[in-house]
Structures are given as structure tokens and as C-alpha cells.
Symmetry: D2
Subunit: 337 residues, 4 copies
């Protein structure tokens, strides 16, 4: 259940409602949601109690929600959410948003060159990893802080917001200085301390689906962020682990259609990880948008063969330009742009 | 290796080439492929032997093929194959082909009504099961022969070719009389006697991917049919078994992009089984076509709730009409029709 | 629901009960089960109808069964079933039964030598494939009829019952002449015509779990055989398809514990396919028996490296001898032999 | 490659070797491993360089290691590692170690009662969660610090070392005060900052396999801890995500056999999560030990139905007692205790 509080309420009014709820033996979690105060309630009322709450002068409405992810559910917000970044970028609107860039920030030049290519290809956001979650401790772990700076500067230079991955709860303050959007990688989808801390930030968070996760688990992971009051969550399908051996992961576009029915949060697709093969990225980008995705996350590199990490799946600037054109055509065919 | 024989060869010339090959200790499988005779060769030649074969007057060309599925591979036939059905229908051409109809043929009226709806919606082929592979022995197993007749008559009436599933190798002759296209269900993808026997037919076979199969295994299953001389094989992605519980199967559109790179055979998508949820079928149909599919297989029912089998995934005629319109728009956006 | 008929009934008495059931609008499937006649009933009775049936003079008992697999369920037969083969072999008793032998029968000598080793190691049944379900059409497909004969003769010579795979419904009569136990391979677990035909045989059938199948689906596949009146079904876990790449399949011993709770049918384990690695077979054999399996199916070869098929997973006679000893110790630790 | 340094080396000797290595353009990671200093080397030497290094007076040996997990591999340490806890407990020795207790510490009484039962049943370690990784933000998240204290005291009272999960890298210092063994949950298997920090601790870490992870990924996760110098890592198989719906996860005992071949680290099995069903825990405990596991992690509760979390899989003290007895019998059958 979610109880919305009147906007005219004083602090005391809200406290009053809370006292009433607690007296009815339910758990109450206060959430500041945009310009509105909410109480997320866990537990059940009797019909009598429900009426008592509804009558309270501080209560605007009671929303019964039949999903375990309350704030993420469409019952709470039937309309698709929109996330504004800077003055120009709108995620979740009519336009398909494309975030592109290298797996890792490697050098100042590399990320600047890529920024230029990303801009020229018509993409909207520059991606690049400074802290990399690598399977083994002997792999390249990213440039760290200096990489963040390079990314930030490249974004500035080409007027592109940037997105980068946050791995460690202790780095949030640092990363927040340099990025426009936090990325939570698949391996951290259920890193609850990280999710909770990002719930306190007001910067958007792109949350990648764990390669093992059900749709419900993804939505509950998002709920951890939402309940902290950060409503700017973007979900991202990036492939699941299956028995298929010819591709790195199996991109699950069922997820896109399902999530668009269940949640108001924007849904992105990462066909680079979802296939692991550069020559399949364009086809799956088109498919993702046709399935209803609000945007794409693409790995691109000025010289894919020389990419330090994930070389097999990065596409060239030429391919990226082609991709953007094809995606735009499909976007218009599904009444997007 | 595939050795193509000159079209001007006599029977004796071919036998002569074969003798030479056998003397070189390789396995030779003769295949009649359209208007051409081939020898599929397993084993390896020395460079010397290769030259000897190449020089033989009966040999047109030697194609080295690095895939275990030789006839299915793009090295053998670089151009996409096309399958003609009757005078009007072309599978694998520019036009996206949509096959639609009920899971099971239930009554003469039901399949006739559905035929009309399928035709009016702008679909190309009428599907309907007469022999049903049901998980349990107490489930409805299909109408059998009478169902075949109903399907055939409904197709005739609305000038629609029909497709129906073949379960039992002993039923091939019977089913062949009534159907235009054989369907091999996912559970039978590795039913090798069935594949071999259909290799002897000259009617097209739509081969569904097993829910456990890799792409290579699907292509090798197709090879069983091709090697019999039946080149009219259509591959169909219909969802795989994964850990996801919110959908019946996980539709794997990576398969479409991968297969279009690897094989000249047409590739279809079945979003009805691939999702198991009627409200996701349109989105995944669009996605399938955007990924490069040549056609769709859709479960539709005049009254989905009353469908004897697979009620949750069948869509109504109204939905089907909408689907066809949406798919056509996406088709044009990817230079198809 | 299962209705057991009195043993003293005449044919007319049984027909009488059936007429009553049909008049109550339920589906009735007559099954001859050992020395007893049954009616498997699908559909529901009112309480009144139930009483009417119970009172009928030809009815012995009404068993309400809450599982879709009625004959396979423990509600129908609470005690574990036992299958006698010849005069000496009892499957499902205290003793752990070990079936061993090569993947394929290759030559008369090979299978005879193996028969000797299998006997000496203390195993109970000789396995060997004459018809092989191979992923590709160019792989070795087995010796066919002559292979059956070699297997049969080797079994005779060393007084070992034999088991071999049946692939094609048209070969049942042939295979039945030579084998003591039919094996249905994983790929054919849902080959319903094959299951139905083997339901008419009275020889035991070892049914391997499909690599995609749930436990319920395996039990329903068994039900197809049971409903034909062949109660001699052995279930066999042989590994499922998962994301794990280090082994060929993932042996699922949860299946053993689950099935032993759900069904009276004997449960076997095939650690050779379930791991695909010879150096893991002993460990998983011990584990299978510790989990409650009634027997094992082991791939062994006199010279594993020279095995035509599945060379990586076959163990040597020395390893087999070790395996039997280890398994016997574990068997005693779980009150078996 | 791992280079072991002479124990008689001075600090300067070691620095000298390092300088040499760096001059040869390889990455050098110094590791303090028990009483020995090592350099883990990434990159390749020429034969000439190798000899130069081998000849260096500070170098004891060069171990070429062909696995990406160098310190975890059997090439580095051929003998199974042993971990001592306190004066009496030895993990990785002949005795099978059983850790048991509730999913969550709920009250002081509950965990004390459980401690008594765990002791009486003959188990060795008391488990209990104070920080719980829960799928949704509205689920019970554990008692936190006070829960740690209750657990610690219960362990003290019954002379049982304790194990508890660490979720947040910022809690390490706190948890370290109260626990004898850190547990890393499946969801955090690739939480690299957490792994790295625990590499700096000298307390043992039980690392659970992610439900999506391959064996290699598990070993590489362990390597993150080992490379920090904490050699006390215990691996734990706890079930993977598969298509099977009848159980919560699929326990993968192939993993046990595989890991025992690949690594010197002790391997545990958690049949409680691996099945999710209390009535299957004993069977899979026996199977785990028969497969070669060094120990078990069991969820037990004084009143399983009242367990706040994971009620379906917790077993009663009576069942636990039975389990220990059965496991001991199997242990002896595989030459353990």
C-alpha cells in the first residue's frame, strides 16, 4: 500500500498520519518522491482501519498495490516516467536515447576521440568505464579517478552527458562529481548497500539486470533505490546466462515487453553485452527498439581490435553511425523518434 | 567438402567421380539438390588428391566448407534461399510471411472462421494442429485425420496454404496429402528418423528449435533434412528454457541474427510460444522482424479464452490485424515488406 | 482419479462400471496393470456421483490422485516398485544395479571384451548402442541390426541382460528381439508415438530425462508408457543444459531426491553424460547412490581414447572396477547393497 | 607464473628480484602467503629471461601456472589446504565439518537454543545471519549489530565457532569482531571491493558460488581474496539457476568433483539453498559428502515453520541430528570421518 500525503501538510500533519499508521501495526517507510511525500506501508489493514486512514485530514489517497515492487509498479504511476538530464536530454520521452562509448576509458585521447565520434554519429550520452568489474584480479581494473576526469572532460568538450559504472559504495561521492548518470553493473544488481546509497543520490541510476535475475528481482532491486527517494532509475536488459554457447549472453527482449507492462521506469537494452559479437549489435539494437525499449547502451571503440576489454563486442564509429540511422527508422515505425 | 557435379554428366560420369573419391578414403553422400547433383564428402584430402579430384572431367567445383553443417552453411550457398509455395507465396523474399491460426484444429467451423480472419488480417498461411504433442497423456491430443481435412478445406476456401505439425514418422504420407508445409515441433527437433524421412519429401519443412538446443544443433538438425535432398527447410526460433519464470519461454532473438549470418535458410520467429503471453506477442513480433526474421508463426483464436490448448498465448483476430499492420511498418523500416 | 476393479469381475462387470463412468461425463482410460484392471479417470465427480461409483459392485476402490501423473504417483502406489529381469536381476530392490558398457557397439570383439570386463567388475547389465542419435548426419550412426546381434550375443556369453537405445518407432519389433531393456534417450523423452508404442510392450523401459525437462515433464512422459499397461519404467537422470561450460551437462541430483518422494518408479543416474568427463564419473556415481538412486548407467570402454563416440566420458575397465567398489561402500552406508 | 622467494631473503633481496622482473616487462604482484613471500607474475618471459630469473640468488622457484587462477590452482599447491579455527577445529582435514543454524538471528533466545541443538547434534560451527541480503527492501533485513552479538555469545556459550554473512564493505571491522568465519553470499560473489578487503583480513572466508557463475568464475573470485594474502578461503556450492521449477535452485554437485580436481581450497555444499526444500536436505547432504565435499552448511531452526526467512528449507533439530548421523556413515564410506 502507498499512502500519498497532502502537499499542504505541515511536518506535524505527516507525523500525525504516521502515528495513526503505526498504531494499526503496519510498517511505515517515508519516501520523498519528487514534490510529494509518501508513506510506503507494509502489512494489511482491516476494512475499518482502511476507512479510518482514508478519512484522516493529512491523507490524500490510499493506493492498494498488488506487487512486491510498490514504487516501481504501474499501479503507483500509470504513466511512463521521464528523466531530464541537463537542459536538453529527456530519457523516457518520444526519442530513443543512445549511450555509446568504450568499455574502458584507456587514455585522454581515446575517450576524446570517441566522444567526437559518438557526437557525430548522433548519439546522446558518452559511456566509459573508469572502475571496471573484472572477472579476475589480474585483468586491467580501469584507470580509476583519472579515468573519471578524462571521461568528464570528453563529455564537456562535445556537450555530451556521461555515464560510468560505480562498483564500490565508498566511491559514490567521487564518482558523483564526474558523472551525469551512475551505472550499476549486472554483477552488482543485488549489491544492496550500493543500491541503498544510490537511493540517497538525486542523480539518475542505470541499473543493469543481473544475468541470473528474474524480472521481479530486477524490479525489486530498483525498488531499493526508489525507496530512498531517488526516482530516476533506468532499467537495462543486458543478456542472461543460458545454455547457448555461440553468444556471450542471451539478450532477453521478452524482458523489455514485460517491463514496459509492469513499470513506469524507462527500459534500456545493451546489445553489446547481450550478444558479445560486434556483427550482431545492429540487428539486436533494431530489435530492442522494436520491442519497446526507450534507449540503447552500445560499446563502441575507435579501433575495436585494440580495445583493452571486451574487444569482440565493440563496434567501430562507422558501424555506430549505421546503427543510429537504422535505429531511427525502426523508431519511427513504432511511433518513436 | 562439397563437390558439385557437372550438369552435363551422365550417370556413369557421376559414378566415376564417386569411385575416385572412395579410392581416396573419404565418405561420400550423394545429394540431389534442386537441378544439381552433389557429393557431400566427409574426411580430408591431401593437396595432391584435391588436385586430382579437381581435374576430373565430371567435377564442376570443390567447395571446402568449415562448418559441420555443410549444406546449410553460407559457404555452400551465399545467397538467401527462397521457397515457393503454390503460385503466389514466396518465403525468404522481400515480404515478411505471417503464418497464423489456432494451436489445435477444434471443429470445422472454428478453423474455417479462423481461416477467414487470417486472410482478412493479411496473413499468408493458415496454421492449425491436428496431431498435438501434449506433455501429458490425458491432455487433448488433437483431432487427427479429420482435423487435417478441416484444415485443408479451410485453407482451400480462403486460398491460403496450410501448415500443420507432423509427430509420427508413420503419418508422413497421410499428412503430406493435406498440408502445404510440414511443421516439426521443438520436442522433435532431434527426432532423427522423422528428419530423415522428411528429407525424402519435397514439401517444405518448418523446423522449430528445441528449447534446449544451441544454434549449431539446430543447423545440424536441418542438415539431416537437407542431406536427403529436400532443400526447403525453414528454421524457426520459438523460445528456450531459462531460469525466467514470468514467461513460458525466453524468446532468443540473438538466434535470428546469428542464423542469418550462418545460413541461407529462411528464419522464422514464433513469439506466441516464445513468450506464452498474448499481451507480449505484438512487441516480440515487431522485434523479430527488426532482428531480421523472414516470417512469423502466430497463435490466434477466434475466442482465445475458449482455446482448448495454449489459451494464454493465443491472440484475437483484432490483435492479429493490429499485429500485421505494426509488423509491416517495421518491415519497411528494415527494407522488407 | 483411479478406479480399481475387483479381480473377480467378469468382462461384463467391468463394462458395466465403465458405462456408469461415461454416463457421469468423465474420460475413462482402461489400463491393465499387472494382475489388476484399472480405470484412469479424467474429470471431476460430484460427491453424489462419487458415492454412486463407490457403491457399484464391480468397483474395489476409488483413489483420488492430486498429481497430473496418476499412475506414476506415490498416491497410487505408495511402495517402491520392483522390476524383475530374468531370474536373477531385481531393479528397485536393496541392491544398487549398475549397467555399463560402451556408447556404441563397434565390433563383435569390442562388445564381447567389454561384456567380460563388465561382468568381472561386478556390474549387472551390459549397455551398448546399435542405433545412435547423433547430432549431425555425418557422424557414425551405429551398426544397426548387426550391432544388436553382437550386443545380444555378448550378453548371452557372460550371462548379462542387455540394454540398448530405441530411436525409431518402426524398429521396436526388431529391437525387442535382442534387448532385455529398452532405453529411450534424452532427445526422445517427449517423442510421444515412441512412448505410446513402448507402453504396449511388456519389456522394461529406461526413460532418460530430457536435458530441458522439469521433473513433472519426466513423470508425465513416463505416464505415457504406464497408461499403455507397461508398468516397468525406470527413470534416469542424465544431466541438464545449464550455463556451466566446464562440464558437458549439469548432473541434477536434486532430481533423484525429488523423484524418490514423488514416484514408486526406480530412479537411475547416468554420471557419464551428466558430467562428460571421465575423471568425475566415480565421484558423481557415489553421490548419485548417496542421494537415493537405485542404479547407475555408466559408459565404459576397453580403450576409452579409441571410443568412436563420447570418448571423453568413457572410463576404463580399471576405473569401472574401482567405481563398483566405491559405490558398494556408499550403498551400505545408506542401507543398500 | 608464481615466483617463490627464499625465506632467508632480506627485504632488499626481494626488492632486487622485483626490480629484475619489472625490467622484463611483466606485472608483479607481491603476496604474503603464510610464512612465504611470493610474486604473482602476469605476462610472459622469453626462455632467456626465465633462466635469468631462475638464477637470481633471491629466487627459490618459478612455478609456471596454466590457469588464470594462479594461487587457487593445484599447480601452485598440490596438497589440499587445511584451515585451523581456534584450537580444535580443522577445515579441510579428514573430518567432514558441519555448519548449521538459522537463516537469520531472530532473538537472543532463539540463537542460544539453536546453538545448543547444533552442539548436541554433533555439528561444528554455528551459523546465523545478522545482515541479510533480501530480494526486496520491505523484507526483514536482519538484526544488524545486536544480532552479531547474540550470535557471538551463543557460540561462546556452547563452544562453537560462528559464521555470519558480510554484505557491506564498510561493516568488515564490525563483523570481524564478532565472527570466526566471514560468509560471502552468492549475490556478492563478484562484489570485487568486498573480496579485496577480505583479502586483507586473516580470518577465514566462506565464499558462496553465484547462482550464475561458472567454476572458473568462482575460482577467480577466490583469487581476489587470495591475492590479498588471505589464504583461508572456503568455496561453497549452493545451487544454480536453471529451468527447473520444482526446486528453488539446482544443486550442482559436478562443481564439487570439478573443484576438488582444480584447487587446494576446501569445498563445502549448502543443500538447504541448493534445494529450497527441507525434505530433500538430508539426501543432498549425503550426496555432497559422497561427491567429495569437505563440509556442509545447513539451515536449521528450532521451529522451522516460524522461521522469519527461508522457512521452507530450514530443518528441525531432530532432522539435523539424523542428518549428522547419516553424513558420518557416508563420510566413512569415502574414507573421511
Amino acid at each position: 500500500m502507498i499512502i500519498t500525503l497532502k502537499q499542504t501538510n505541515t511536518f506535524k500533519d505527516n507525523a500525525d498520519v504516521r502515528r495513526l499508521l503505526v498504531s494499526l501495526h503496519v510498517d511505515v517507510i517515508p519516501v520523498e518522491w519528487k514534490s510529494q511525500s509518501l508513506y510506503v506501508v507494509n502489512g494489511k489493514f482491516s476494512e475499518l482501519s482502511r476507512r479510518e486512514v482514508a478519512k484522516h485530514s493529512g491523507v490524500e489517497a490510499i493506493l492498494p498495490i498488488d506487487r512486491p515492487y510498490k514504487l516501481a509498479s504501474k499501479t503507483f504511476r500509470p504513466n511512463n516516467g521521464k528523466i531530464k538530464i541537463g537542459n536538453t536530454l529527456l530519457i523516457g520521452g518520444r526519442e530513443i536515447i543512445i549511450m555509446a562509448g568504450p568499455c574502458s576509458v584507456e587514455t585522454k585521447h581515446q575517450i576524446e576521440d570517441m566522444g567526437k565520434e559518438v557526437k557525430n554519429a548522433g548519439c546522446h550520452v558518452l559511456r566509459g568505464g573508469a572502475f571496471k568489474p573484472r572477472t579476475g584480479p589480474y585483468d586491467f581494473q580501469g584507470l580509476g579517478k583519472i579515468g573519471l576526469r578524462f571521461l568528464h572532460d570528453a563529455g564537456k568538450k562535445y556537450n555530451l552527458p556521461v555515464i560510468t559504472e560505480i562498483l564500490d559504495v565508498r566511491d559514490i561521492e567521487l564518482v558523483e562529481k564526474y558523472t551525469d548518470i551512475f551505472q550499476i553493473g549486472a554483477r552488482n544488481m543485488q549489491n544492496y548497500p550500493l543500491l541503498r546509497e544510490l537511493g540517497k543520490s538525486r542523480k539518475p541510476v542505470l541499473l543493469k539486470r543481473g544475468m541470473w535475475a528474474t524480472y521481479k528481482e530486477l524490479l525489486l532491486a530498483a525498488e531499493y533505490i526508489l525507496v530512498g527517494g531517488n526516482e530516476h532509475v533506468i532499467l537495462c536488459e543486458r543478456g542472461i546466462r543460458t545454455h547457448v554457447q555461440e553468444t556471450r549472453f542471451t539478450l532477453d527482449l521478452n524482458a523489455v515487453a514485460y517491463l514496459k507492462h509492469e513499470t513506469h521506469l524507462p527500459v534500456f537494452v545493451d546489445p553489446s553485452h547481450g550478444t558479445g559479437r560486434a556483427n550482431m549489435v545492429r540487428a539486436l539494437s533494431r530489435a530492442g527498439v522494436a520491442a519497446g525499449a526507450d534507449g540503447l547502451l552500445i560499446e563502441a571503440h575507435t579501433d575495436p581490435r585494440k580495445s583493452i576489454s571486451d574487444a569482440d563486442q565493440a563496434i567501430s564509429p562507422q558501424e555506430l553511425t549505421k546503427l543510429v540511422k537504422e535505429v531511427k527508422r525502426v523508431a519511427r515505425a513504432v511511433d518513436r523518434e
